[in-house]
């Protein structure tokens, strides 16, 4: 059995890599990004997998083995409660704390200028040096346990900085255990590295969506300059965390680009993101373009990227239109709707998967996955149907 799983691991890894290059492997790979679903399947609470990363790894590895996934993220929930409790981020509500034990974590968006973690008159400071701004202004502001620079120092402040760093090191070192579990489950890691678009950083974590929506009108030059200032730092963060062998893609999690007009997208969102993606590809790293929502309006811009630069993941857009626009250039992944997995019958799931596999995946370059990260609403029998469809219709 161990030998079988080692072969399964090698086959899965090679199948996954080949598909990402937009080639035709032996069958359609399944690369499933599953978060709270793995807790439901394994009998853990969401609190357990949020706070105990080993349980998250074990739950995901069990799913990977039972559903024969070819690749997955070992902990798609990712926001480890241990680090958050020690470092004190104000913007999270976690299961077992503010939330009931089986509800996934929540990110609390700033709703006004008073709540914004970067103030409207702080653009110059961010632009002057992003790292210093984060360390001296933003991080102390987002933590309930740190003191502001210039205020009297405290024991708690010193210990919070220390423990935050130690917690991250502990978490990163735990990936070794996850890798061993995954190998025994015959499943490859899906990704290595993290990237966010510079504009998403402003809209998600620094100013908040509502405030940046004002900023693009009130101080557009500063918004642009901030995106440009962030670019080399976000690139460096991505390349530092990327697969040194260049086989697994960097994960790019896209959020706000769908919420603006085309003029805004062209001016603020796209240029710096495009620059980073192209540079990563020049250095030998593909990126998983994981656009949450409907990115169909921007397909023509995404098509400007070099062939093979990204793996294009489909959420709410029409996967058949995405294939037409981008299929010759990039591997396509996803497009199996989460509401189908939650409310459909297994026969409906199987039918839809077979349709996608036979059209999008006809010539290779397709990876099966749900449209969005799989949470507790996905029915187990429907996730099983995804696998059955792949094994029945996805063999080349």
């Amino acid at each position: 059995m161990v030998e079988d799983m080692e072969k399964k691991y090698r086959d899965s890894f090679n199948r996954y890599i080949k598909a990402m290059k937009n080639e035709k492997p032996d069958r359609v790979p399944m690369r499933v990004l599953a978060a709270e679903f793995v807790a439901k399947y394994s009998g853990y609470t969401v609190q357990e997998v949020t706070y105990d990363y080993n349980k998250a790894y074990e739950a995901t590895a069990l799913c990977a083995k039972d559903f024969m996934w070819d690749a997955a993220n070992p902990n798609q929930i990712y926001e480890w409660g241990g680090l958050i409790d020690h470092f004190g981020q104000k913007y999270y509500k976690l299961p077992g704390r503010e939330l009931p034990p089986n509800i996934g974590f929540q990110y609390i968006e700033p709703v006004d200028e008073e709540g914004a973690y970067m103030k409207e008159d702080e653009y110059d400071r961010l632009i002057e040096n992003p790292t210093e701004f984060l360390a001296n202004v933003w991080i102390p502001r987002i933590s309930s346990q740190l003191t502001d620079v210039g205020e009297p120092n405290t024991y708690r402040n010193n210990m919070t900085w220390l423990k935050g760093g130690i917690a991250l090191m502990d978490y990163v070192q735990s990936f070794r255990y996850a890798f061993g579990l995954f190998k025994k489950s015959g499943c490859a890691f899906a990704l290595s590295g993290i990237l966010k678009a510079p504009f998403d950083i402003l809209a998600d974590k620094l100013r908040g969506f509502r405030q940046v929506s004002y900023d693009v009108y009130r101080q557009p030059e500063k918004v642009l300059a901030a995106c440009e200032a962030l670019t080399p730092y976000l690139y460096q963060n991505a390349i530092y965390t990327a697969d040194p062998e260049g086989k697994l893609p960097v994960g790019l999690w896209l959020h706000r680009g769908t919420l603006f007009s085309e003029d805004m997208y062209k001016k603020f969102f796209w240029p710096t993101l495009k620059e980073i993606l192209i540079q990563l590809y020049k250095e030998g790293h593909q990126t998983l373009w994981y656009g949450e929502g409907d990115w169909q309006r921007w397909l023509k811009y995404t098509a400007e990227l070099p062939d093979g630069c990204i793996i294009y993941h489909v959420d709410k857009e029409d996967i058949f239109e995405a294939q037409k626009a981008l299929g010759d250039k990039f591997c396509i992944s996803g497009g199996i709707p989460n509401d189908l997995l939650a409310f459909g019958a297994p026969s409906e799931v199987k039918e839809y998967c077979s349709k996608v596999i036979k059209t999008i995946g006809k010539d290779g370059g397709y990876i099966l996955d749900a449209s969005a990260i799989m949470q507790s609403d996905a029915r187990i029998e429907n996730v099983k149907a995804m696998t059955e469809a792949t094994l029945e219709y996805g063999v080349y």
Binding site: I84, E128, N129, T131, E132, L134, I139, M169, L195, Y240
Partner: protein
């Protein structure tokens, strides 16, 4: 220039150029000192940016 502003580049927190000036003298292998300084800089820098991009 504000002496508290260190202006770290991507991957840095305290630039090597600042640290180098703090040694009274360097009697041995300067590149060895630099490489070990920069190794930890990268790891620690990752923490600062991980709070923004990951957590």
């Amino acid at each position: 220039m504000d002496k508290d502003k260190l202006n770290p580049k991507p991957g840095e927190l305290i630039p090597w150029e600042i640290k180098e000036k703090e040694y009274e003298k360097i009697t041995g292998d300067k590149e060895l000192l630099k490489s070990q300084w920069e190794k930890v800089e990268l790891i620690a820098n990752r923490f600062i940016w991980a709070i923004l991009t990951d957590f």
